[in-house]
Symmetry: C2
């Protein structure tokens, strides 16, 4: 068990585990304010995920894993033995796994933490069990950091020179512990000098594009322009876009992709204009238990996210709204799936299996 | 000259001409507050159009016509003779015609007022000239009111039973002096008992859907659900939408349609899903001087409309945005054009000419 007590493993501004505490950059306040949220219980970590203080499929998964470690470490510090620490960790798993339904990385991370608990059943102290949990969460985080870098390299190969790329939502360093999923090839292309400009969908209703993607691209000095989501198709018509890159919250075995609402409309527009539509996601986002996209649970969020602006009602009092946070894009509309292990194209059950099983 | 001094001709809540004053419902405050704006000069009318206190192509046209009448009447009341009143009206035309660039109804209304001034060159008193202008504006308003009703009847014929219709922006009673363009068939279908539900695109950046369309559908007791613009394609994929109805700000001679940004994306999505995409607009929206959509001037509005929410900056300080208020949909994606004179389908130069020249 290499992990020392409360080891910190990352320099991600998005999340880090530090001496029994999960420290998150509160993304609800960006870009206006940079405030850290310190979670010292699994319940706090679950609430941070639920309220979207931390968001993005890989970041949610890693935060949840650390959230289990937080609970285990607290039980050990309180003098708990192996069974108390295991119990606290199991309670944390149960609490965290239901925080949000769509991103499979959350379920995957919890599954991984449960396997770690089972694997190390012979440990004799609570502190040892807590250290196992910390090491496991740290390993998941390292995996995701490396996966981001690899996706960046694979994805950048697909983009040509002077690439003009359109992105939706935020799938960058704020959505992962690394350089992102869909934004990773953009960072890589920028470093290689092959990027021209990034069109950033504002991404209603929560504006992850104009708030978060614009923030991190601005920090990185990458040229970008924000647009309303509904302008994307027109930019394609005018020949202003070379490719669309999006992340994913869950990918079914057949390659259907659940991602932020609005993703499907972009895929349709790409098909209409003959443009490549790339999904960039680590293999941890593939869920073999979902045969097709129809099996993916889609989170319905509070209609107030649509009907209110800055806490003020804009729609009439009796008007209702639909507010699914995600949509599902059929595999047939995805030009290529870029993972840390390489690129699947066309996107089919067998090309995906080829990557995941490798 | 039938028109009496300061005659009022309409019962529209959106706009009315009343004793030398143009009275507008200030749509920037809806649905939160119903406040009237009283324009007693052409400059005030132009500013109301520019700031979108009144908006919607037919409403802009009628408001501009009344704005010219306001100026003429004021000059007459001030004791001006025919040439003073004509001069004031010509100045008003010059001021009003540039208030917004895309809706051709504005240019068309001003052209009409100028023709009226030329036609009645033999009048001997300022009051007579002012009355001519008032009558001309009133006649345009009556035309648009009747056109709305006719579009409602023609459009409702295209919708089946239990129609589930998706609309974008606001093309209803708030956008016209009548029952609307794209909303007219919806009001008519509702009256006939053939309407199921209306999906209302919120319509970023100015939210004419969630603010205005939801408001007037709610007032009329018509079932509706607001969605973010980017959800529309997914509703189509799920078979929840039977048809899309939109208005238009300018229609080129070949049938290309300029309308609120986001319209083109809906047309593409309809094509992908094999759904009818109907444009509903009076023949006053056709501009024979524009051969194709490429000739239509597209208004670029303040990027702050995208980058700020309720006056607060949401995007980073250095981030820029594109904010065209309109886009152009090629005629080939328009299933039918519904006008007050009937339906053009397919939409081509010759089917449009057939309606306009009739």
């Amino acid at each position: 068990m290499a992990a020392a007590y409360g080891c910190a493993v990352s320099s991600s501004p998005t999340l880090r585990y530090e001496h029994g505490t999960l420290v998150l950059l509160d993304q609800r306040l960006l870009p206006g304010a940079r405030r850290e949220l310190r979670c010292t219980t699994a319940a706090e970590a679950a609430e941070a995920i639920r309220s979207m203080a931390v968001r993005g499929a890989p970041a949610i998964g890693v935060a949840a894993a650390h959230g289990v470690a937080v609970a285990g470490r607290a039980a050990a510090v309180a003098g708990g033995g192996p069974s108390e620490v295991r119990g606290a960790a199991e309670d944390a798993c149960a609490l965290l796994e239901t925080a949000r339904p769509t991103a499979v990385n959350l379920a995957g991370a919890i599954h991984r933490m449960r396997l770690a608990l089972m694997r190390d059943a012979g440990l004799i102290s609570g502190a040892e069990v807590a250290a196992v949990l910390e090491a496991e969460a740290a390993e998941l985080e390292r995996f995701e950091v490396d996966a981001c870098a690899a996706m960046g390299r694979h994805g950048a190969e697909l983009l040509g020179d002077n690439a003009r790329v359109l992105v939706h939502c935020n799938a960058g360093s704020l959505a992962t512990p690394g350089i992102g999923t869909a934004l990773a090839p953009i960072y890589e292309a920028h470093a290689r000098g092959t990027l021209d400009v990034v069109f950033v969908d504002e991404t209603r209703p929560r504006l992850q594009g104009s708030r978060l993607t614009a923030y991190e691209l601005g920090e990185a000095g990458i040229p970008h322009l924000v647009i309303v989501d509904s302008l994307a198709a027109t930019l394609m018509l005018h020949g202003a876009v070379d490719a669309v890159l999006v992340g994913a919250d869950r990918i079914a075995a057949n390659g259907d992709v659940a991602n932020k609402v609005g993703t499907y409309a972009l895929a349709v527009a790409c098909a209409h204009h003959g443009l490549p539509f790339y999904v960039v996601a680590p293999t941890t986002t593939v869920d073999p238990a979902c045969e097709t996209g129809a099996d993916i649970p889609i989170e319905e969020r509070d209609p107030a996210e649509v009907l209110e602006i800055a806490g003020e009602r804009v729609a009439p009092a009796l008007t209702r709204a639909l507010n699914p946070a995600f949509d599902v894009t059929p595999a047939s509309l995805v030009t290529a799936l870029v993972t840390e292990r390489g690129v699947a194209s066309p996107v089919t059950s067998s090309t995906i299996e080829g990557l995941v099983r490798r």
